[in-house]
Chain length 730, copies 2
């Protein structure tokens, strides 16, 4: 071996060792048999920080304690509600049962999902506090020797009561171990290492991302693959802005074998690191634009969290749990009717079912970027600990996720969800009398809301998902997009260098950096149960009517025409500004005092429609975004709009496929699906990190209450509000 | 005269005297020659209450003082900026000049509008602080002996320099005196009084509303008319819920003569008063749903208001003034570029140009309800004093309007506009690194905004208009709808009584009460000046492209295609979800470092399109709502989308008419028009007062800044935030 080669060999070897070391450090669990991953020593991903302190020990709210006691708390967690997630103890029991189950003995296996197998809806609806819990079961998705299994583990009997292989195309959600380990797989290839160095990047500066490859019908795609693309993290934490453009390494996710390397961007420089780092600690200067400002509640928050998961606030109550796939799951959503005092059902369950993020660049290193973040990466697995005071305001309550690593060992994702009350200075309702009537009236009520928030960082992008409850019965579901763009390297440093005929597929954001156009679709599963499970979907269409000759001086007006959807076909809605409708979910068996069916409506906000060709392979997989609204009969197994096994799926198990059966949905237990969309043409303001862009939709009572449910709330008066002083003077 | 008739006569006489007395009490000015209306004794409409107190006397913010000193303050007001509204002293001078002007001598006249005649845009742009002000002029709209005049009064020379009669159809905005006085005109009709009493309503319980009649091409409409409809205010302040249905009195607004009475609803009972009153003071019980909560800034707000009207906050500055027609006018909107430190122009002026509110019931008492609230009623005239702590949070600054009554006497509409900072717990930008990359990063920044708010109560309805400024350069314009529905009486008490074939034109909200379907359109005038006056409008269309065979595994993608609008026709935009575009206003003479044209885009939120037939008379008048976006060349006289004289106009002076000329708009001083729409199918929750429904649109920087302008703002840290305690314990 030549001296030069030996040096190179030693360099690579040490680089690999170093990378392995860092990778192990970053694993969400240490390779041990501990009962709980020790986050404080081995992983930054599940640590706690700045837990809120109770200002008022009398306050009935459950508050997480300090980190030490906190870990003890999870150790002592017990389920109280049929929908409570698996506890640490239960996860450990699942792990043990699996270990001794025949299928797993002497096999290499990985658990891709271990969550509560929720009891039958009927059993949950029947259950009352004090009743014994229905049998606790775990739903396990595992891969054993290249085969995907769906198992049910009975925690009571210790038996595996269901054991099925995947019926459809596709693979389970990647484990965190899949994602972490595959990023250093390319280093096993000398070709890869050579090209990286030729591009001027030291191997030690490499940061690589695991990119789900989608599915395009090619033969090579019959195994579990991933595409790895890399960046230089030299001189910036924002390596996303420094792509090694055109270099794509196809890796076998099961074997970690490098299958193929595409290397097409050798003429494209790595963009500079200047002005890309966004961390406060590395800024040379800062701009303090505003004085300290805070939402303050000197008597503490008004909500309580009973038994770890049951949130009660104002007139609302609901069950809240973190989930590795959906992020958060909100269940048994009920609101108190002020006229009867009764607590009435609104929704059985709501969750983020799937995301679909197609990029709009057909070239080799980009065409496949058509992410499905929930089913491929785990929307909850990517929800990192929230930053108190910045991700959520003071007085927020933080809820941890307790998840299982690939070997079944539980770990705590702390501060994964926050719950807080918000007051933005908005008005709940108001009226002044004007000089016309001469009455001296000024009545206004402040609007206070309760927000449940999580923020998933799916590699570069950050999705902030808020479930916001208003006292008037409205639920707003809001998605904020922030984080960092996925950008493309280019030789261009100025738009004037670009030939008019050439498409950049995006915007030149900085020298050598293109922000590629892409869409975001977030599909929500909303199992509405308006005063009971059997509901109907009504399209209240506003259509233009003409008056008869001589009938009126008016020629036209809009008339509301109600059409009850009979089958799924009637409820596939493409929104059109010029053909407006309201979309009601009503209980046809129940009316208000004056005879209107009680209901909730879904109220779209700003959104975007998917315009890809329906036969384009990614769009077949993302066919659940073909309509903005769908309604299906409730089916416990149909929760994930892109299918249970989304990774490399062919689109054979999507909401679109299910609803082709066109089943009856009138006066049935129905599920409403809403897709919130964004078109994103990047602009320079998105560089190097994007100011949050958000949109939302509402679930709004429509003849659900007999009248305005917040008529009797009091106005603010000065004597109730806090007395504050500057912290500096404290 | 029989005893019974004498009694009746005496009763009516006393009722009329009483009503006259109340009416005079309610007039916004006492019939005196005072220099300023004495609001404290004669009118509830301009009183102050709960003015904010400076917590920190060092604070540089101008704060209104207590009511007494406050009145003195307006007495001493002087203009500091070319766009400052006419001061109290200036209004008095206009009154005097008008009184001695030949036209008005020995004539009965009314001033329908007295506002600043803004100097030429060029002069305003050239002006710098310290320069002498351009000549101060008043724009006066007056009616003298049945003729409408447009006058310009030069305050320096004391001369009337422009004197024109109305060229188009239509009449000026009603005066408050028109609106107040006309409501008792029907009492002069014995027929009216008889029918009211026959309906079971005591005359003393009558509350009548002045309803603009629109224009339907009928001969009778050639004089200034109004339609008066009445309600019973017995046992409730919410008389709107107790219509005397079908009774419409047509009154001549100039002579107060009853022209015609339509009386079609004799079989319709007056709905009951039960559960209609919304005032806190009359509730039997109340629900306190949440603990005290407040936005707190112990160091005070971060904005200053220089010279009464120049708002400076964070990186923004703009001129703010109340206006009797538009409500608020925001001018000279500039933002500081953090990269250069330069203060850059975004918008020359923005305002609510017109509202259009067509009801969807063609029957006799309803077909004409097609309000244009700005031009008919004065959106600012109807903006009542805001209620501190409820309409706006603590630390809000309140700005007064100083307007002229019909005889020219100035009066103060106090607390008409508020300015405050809002923090809702939202996130300005964020990013966490995920376990995939193993980097320990959690960076988040709180989002704080500045809100300028007014709330107009146009009889029953309340419109809350917010101009919200974000530190990232975004301006959100939000309209909230609250207040009280305009309802229709009906014999029905339950939906099951209604024949399937019959249309209610709305929803049965309570026994005998129908909430009639209607739309709201709010059209904004946005004179964008992005880095200078000459701008272009670019439609950045996202169109589906197909790849060539063999080019890619992807079949389709979306491509952004930029089309610069050449003439007005190119910029008439009907929004379509399936044909998406971004709408940029760019400065074609200026690019960013990497060559993108600097710009702002208008980003629609949820909205509604007007679907009335284009030939329907109301839609001809409201033709400015035919498109969601229009662009016109700047023309000082084209500010009011429905025309300067909207009342009973024929639609001959609207934005739609102007833009038929199809003038060039490329690289010109252009004005962007955006219409925000709502369809409103009432529901029971809207009874007896509506929880706020809101929607918004954004003006957002797009390659205006070189990069994220808030990269360097600091995160919140606990030590900066306030220390608060409960007020009760203070």
């Amino acid at each position: 071996m030549e001296g030069k080669n030996l040096l190179r060999y030693l360099f690579f070897l040490s680089a690999i060792v170093l990378l392995l070391y860092f990778t192990l450090l970053s694993l969400p669990y240490p390779p041990s048999k501990a009962e709980l991953l020790d986050c404080t020593t081995s992983s930054p991903w599940c640590t706690s920080k700045n837990r809120i302190q109770s200002k008022n020990p009398e306050n009935p709210i459950t508050k997480p304690n300090d980190p030490t006691r906190h870990r003890q708390r999870h150790t002592a967690d017990v389920p109280h509600h049929p929908l409570d997630p698996l506890t640490l103890t239960e996860l450990n029991r699942v792990k043990k049962i699996i270990q001794s189950y025949e299928l797993f003995k002497d096999s290499v296996y990985a658990l891709h999902s271990v969550v509560l197998e929720e009891p039958e809806k009927k059993a949950v609806l029947k259950w009352k506090k004090g009743d014994p819990l229905p049998a606790r079961r775990a739903a396990v998705i595992a891969r054993v020797s290249g085969v995907s299994y769906v198992l049910t583990v009975d925690l009571g009997t210790g038996e595996v009561t269901r054991h099925e292989t995947n019926q459809y195309s596709g693979y389970p959600t990647m484990t965190l171990e899949d994602m972490s380990s595959v990023t250093w797989a390319p280093l096993a290839s000398a070709d890869f290492n050579r090209t990286v160095i030729e591009r001027g990047v030291d191997l030690i500066d490499l940061a690589c991302l695991p990119i789900s490859p989608g599915w395009f019908g090619m033969a090579e795609e019959s195994r579990r693959l991933i595409k790895v693309q890399c960046y230089s993290m030299k001189d910036t934490a924002n390596f996303y802005m420094r792509p090694i453009e055109g270099l794509t390494v196809v890796v076998d996710l099961d074997t970690k074998e490098v299958v193929k390397i595409n290397d097409n961007g050798k003429n494209i420089p790595i963009p500079k690191a200047d002005n890309t780092d966004y961390r406060f600690s590395v800024q040379n200067s800062y701009q303090r634009l505003v004085n300290p400002i805070s939402i303050e509640q000197p008597n503490g928050p008004s909500f309580t969290i009973e038994d770890d998961h049951l949130v009660k606030w104002a007139n609302w109550e609901f069950h809240l749990k973190p989930d590795p796939r959906a992020g958060v799951i909100i269940s048994r959503v009920m609101v108190r009717d002020p006229s009867s005092g009764e607590v009435r059902s609104v929704m059985y369950q709501g969750l983020t079912s799937e995301l679909f993020v197609p990029y709009m660049d057909p070239s080799d290193a980009w065409y496949f970027k058509t992410y499905m973040d929930a089913g491929e990466y785990g929307f909850g697995l990517q929800a990192m600990p929230l930053d108190p005071l910045n991700d959520c305001p003071r007085n927020a309550y933080y809820m941890d996720g307790v998840f299982a690593a690939a070997d079944g060992t539980p770990y705590v994702r702390s501060n994964m969800v926050c719950v807080f009350e918000s007051y933005a200075g908005d008005i709940g309702w108001r009226h002044s009398e004007s000089p016309i009537t001469g009455m001296k009236i000024r009545e206004a009520r402040p609007k206070v809301t309760l927000v449940v928030r999580m923020a998933a960082s799916v590699a570069n992008y950050d999705y902030i998902v808020d479930w916001e409850f208003q006292t008037d019965g409205l639920i707003r579901i809001k998605v904020g997009l922030s984080g960092i763009l996925m950008v493309k390297g280019t030789p261009y440093v100025n738009v004037n260098q670009v030939n008019q005929q050439e498409s950049l597929y995006g915007t030149l954001l900085s020298e050598n950096v293109i922000g590629v156009i892409h869409d975001h679709y977030i599909t929500f599963y909303l199992d509405m149960d308006v005063d009971g499970s059997d509901n109907s979907f009504v399209n209240v269409h506003l259509q233009r009517e003409y008056t008869s000759p001589g009938e009126s001086s008016r020629m036209s007006y809009l008339k509301a025409v109600r059409k009850v959807a009979k089958t799924e076909k009637d409820a596939k809605i493409k929104l059109k500004l010029n053909e407006p409708s309201e979309f009601h979910v009503v209980n046809p068996s129940k009316t208000t005092r004056v005879g209107n069916p009680v209901g909730y409506k879904v109220v779209p906000g700003a959104t975007a429609a998917n315009l890809l060709d329906l036969n384009d392979p990614p769009q077949k997989r993302g066919a659940f975004t073909n309509n903005q609204i769908w309604v299906t009969p409730y089916n416990k197994s149909e929760q994930w709009a892109g299918g249970l096994f989304v990774y490399q799926s062919h689109g054979d198990d999507t909401l679109e496929v299910w609803s082709q059966r066109d089943e009856p949905i009138e006066n049935k237990d129905i599920v409403l699906w809403y897709t919130l969309g964004f078109h994103h043409i990047p602009c320079q303001e998105d560089f190097p990190i994007m100011p949050t862009v958000s949109s939302s939709f509402d679930l709004k009572p429509v003849n659900f209450f007999e009248s305005n449910p917040i008529l009797r709330i009091p106005p603010n008066v000065d004597k109730d509000l806090p007395v504050c002083k500057a912290a500096a003077s404290a």
